[in-house]
């Protein structure tokens, strides 16, 4: 899913983002990773607890990608941004 890098972000940043997102998707898409019942966590077969744990992992990966891609000038523009402009 390589995107044409918009100006301002280095190809390396896009590379990292691509890898992180592929990891997030693959963790859910590649079923043989988790289609097993052992090891159990408490009474939960692996199949269930792995997927439930993968949910916050995906959230964290997306958050890292968001931070990586967030424009640097955004920090400077914060006060204006935070005022919640309405139209």
């Amino acid at each position: 899913m390589a995107q044409p890098a918009p100006p301002g972000k280095s190809p390396a940043t896009w590379g990292v983002v691509t890898v992180l997102l592929i990891v997030a998707i693959a963790g859910a898409l590649w079923v043989p990773i988790y289609a097993r019942s052992m090891p159990k966590l408490g009474d939960f077969p692996f199949f269930y607890w792995f997927q439930l744990i993968w949910v916050p992992v995906t959230g964290v990966l997306c958050w890292i990608c968001y931070l990586l891609l967030r424009g640097k000038p955004a920090a400077a523009a914060r006060p204006e941004h935070g005022r919640g402009r309405r139209q």
């Binding site: 301002g8 009474d43 424009g71 402009r85």
Partner: protein, 592 residues
């Protein structure tokens, strides 16, 4: 189970009244300067920040049908039903990739629906129409299924089911839908956005309480899983095979993965989800939300586990059997048997309100599609924004009545079959909507024929799939080259292959292609404001008049926050599809 519980009913009624008040009051929320613009009614002013968007997108993606059907599937077949969890895990990284580009181009060009984007990108009315019609067709049964979700709650509560008259039986549903239709008509997207707050409070409360309370009452998770696995390993007399499995078997892995991937890709092109995306205030809002929306996924996973809990409760199994084996009743029944009646009322309200929010968003999304791609494009090209809004409001009413008709008049199985088909159909618009965000390589005619091929193949294949006691439309996965695959994915691959081959053919034969109204910088633009007036001029003349996107760009350049892509002439040159001068004469559309 047909005994009406007064406490449960009173709480459900109170929740409904509260939601109705909020729905009508939302018309005054963030009042617009020009309420009769489609940006206002249809997209809530395009000004939702991270917080509101989180609720709105959550309300979009997790519908009542999800809350009923996913645990029902888990109840009946075990691990296979968990593909819904896998699908809602991978949908957010996918949204992270595609959605910001779609948001940007829609904002820069004033598009309200994906149909307009495709129309603008390819200069093709036909392709825009195909996308819009597919969206409307796929959405209608989806709304109807929200009603099926409400119906199963009402059935378990015993409302209406004892009456002999069909009208009395359906009356609660008709009243509920009429009220929703009224405030959606009035307030547009603002209504579901506000009601989503109530919906989520109810749902999160219900699920957390259910997770803490029910397993203890049933003898712990160990017992729940063993009861489920005992049932799943039992041989089904109808098929001669076990009912299911507690962990996906190697033979089922391919179906599980393709179902999850196909659903995740399809979700993004459903009109109600693009509507939620377009309503965001800033480009960053969407990416930030992909990190926070998985909270709903976690809830969905826990809701899916309710299916196993229902299996571990003998009283639920007995009642499901008494209702002709309708597994869709398992969760409402579980609530009725496990919770004290007041909390059962809260839990039922969660499902019912959880149906109203997406039903409202879906009808608005379909109405936007109709208005911008069919009414304005074909019937009345010079429609004013006020006329557009009036038509959209009316269309949302018609969508609701249509869905009600579906749910009441037609066999329930028929709605479910249509929903299954809807998922297959909507994915066929993926190349035109999502791939177009990156490349304009495909020929417009090739995309239309590819779309048609995918639609026909998917429909025929779904028709030919037996299962669940039905000869046709028995399931969403069918064998393709020896693997059980989600039909939508197989149809999408066919669609892409046809489109690619025909693009080469059409290029070789020099068949006329359309004019691209978008600019490369549109896809990364991040304008701060969308002045309604500017949006209007842009949408009225969206065939690439020079400087069509200028108002938005000017504001972002003047604002303290530079937009993501300063117009870089070199880059524009690289990506822009500007036809060579000798080619230009062949294009029919107005020229830049």
């Amino acid at each position: 189970m047909n005994h009406l519980n007064a406490v449960t009913f009173a709480i459900l009624a109170a929740a409904f009244v509260l939601v109705t008040c909020i729905g009508f009051a939302s018309a005054r929320w963030r009042p617009a300067e020009d309420p009769m613009h489609l940006n206002e009614w249809g997209l809530g002013g395009r000004g939702f920040g991270t917080f509101v968007s989180w609720f709105l997108l959550g309300g979009d993606i997790y519908t009542a049908y999800t809350f009923i059907a996913v645990p029902a599937l888990v109840y009946a077949t075990g691990a296979a039903g968990f593909y819904a969890l896998s699908y809602t895990i991978m949908v957010f990284p996918i949204v992270f990739i595609f959605a910001p580009r779609l948001w940007s181009v829609a904002r820069a060009r004033g598009y309200v629906t994906p149909g307009e984007f495709v129309r603008g990108r390819y200069g093709s009315q036909g392709l825009g129409l195909a996308v819009a019609v597919t969206g409307i067709l796929a959405t209608m049964p989806y709304i109807a299924l929200q009603l099926v979700g409400i119906e199963s709650v009402l059935t378990v509560m015993g409302i209406g089911s004892t009456s002999g008259s069909a009208f009395v039986r359906d009356l609660p549903l008709i009243i509920a839908f009429a009220v929703v239709a009224a405030y959606t008509y009035l307030a547009g997207l603002r209504a579901p956005a506000l009601i989503a707050f109530v919906k989520d409070i109810l749902i999160y409360t219900t699920v957390i309480v259910a997770m803490l309370y029910i397993p203890g009452k049933l003898g712990g998770w160990g017992h729940i899983f063993s009861a489920a696995s005992t049932h799943l390993n039992t041989v089904n007399p109808a098929t001669g095979k076990p009912f299911g499995s507690i962990v996906v078997l190697p033979a089922g892995e391919w179906a599980y993965a393709t179902l999850a991937l196909g659903s995740a890709l399809a979700l993004f092109v459903y009109p109600h989800v693009t509507t939620g995306v377009f309503a965001a205030k800033r480009r960053d809002v969407i990416r930030r939300n992909t990190a926070m929306l998985p909270a709903y996924t976690l809830i969905l996973g826990l809701i899916a586990l309710l299916g196993f809990m229902a299996r571990a409760e003998p009283a639920v199994n007995a009642d499901v059997k008494a209702a002709g084996g309708n597994a869709q009743l398992s969760v409402p029944l579980l609530f009725a048997h496990m919770f004290p009646s007041w909390f059962a009322g809260i839990a039922d309200s969660a499902i019912v309100v959880g149906a109203l929010v997406p039903a409202a968003i879906m009808s608005i999304a379909a109405a936007n599609l109709f208005t911008r791609t069919i009414y304005k494009e074909l019937l009345k090209p010079d429609a004013t924004p006020a006329q557009e809004t009036r038509v959209a409001r009316l269309a949302s009413l018609i969508m609701k009545v249509g869905a009600l008709g579906f749910a009441l008049e037609l066999n329930k199985t028929f709605s479910i079959n249509l929903q299954l088909l809807g998922g297959i159909w909507i994915l066929q618009t993926f190349p035109a909507i999502v791939i177009s965000l990156y490349t304009r390589w495909f020929h417009r005619a090739a995309l239309i024929i590819g779309w048609a091929a995918g639609m026909v193949y998917g429909t025929v294949q779904a028709y030919r799939t037996p299962g669940g006691g039905q000869a046709h439309f028995g399931g969403s996965a069918a064998p393709v080259f020896g693997h059980i695959t989600y039909i939508a994915i197989a149809a999408l691959l066919l669609n892409l292959a046809v489109a690619a081959v025909l693009t080469l053919v059409f290029r070789a034969t020099g068949l006329q292609d359309g004019w691209d109204a978008t600019k490369p910088s549109d896809y990364t633009a991040d304008p701060v404001t969308v002045p309604a007036a500017a949006a209007r001029t842009r949408t009225r003349d969206h065939s690439a008049a020079p400087g069509a996107g200028t108002p938005a760009r000017a504001t972002s350049a003047a604002g303290s926050r530079p937009m993501a892509t300063p117009p870089d002439p070199q880059r524009v040159g690289r990506y822009r599809r500007t036809p060579a001068r000798h080619e230009r004469a062949r294009f029919r559309g107005p020229r830049a």
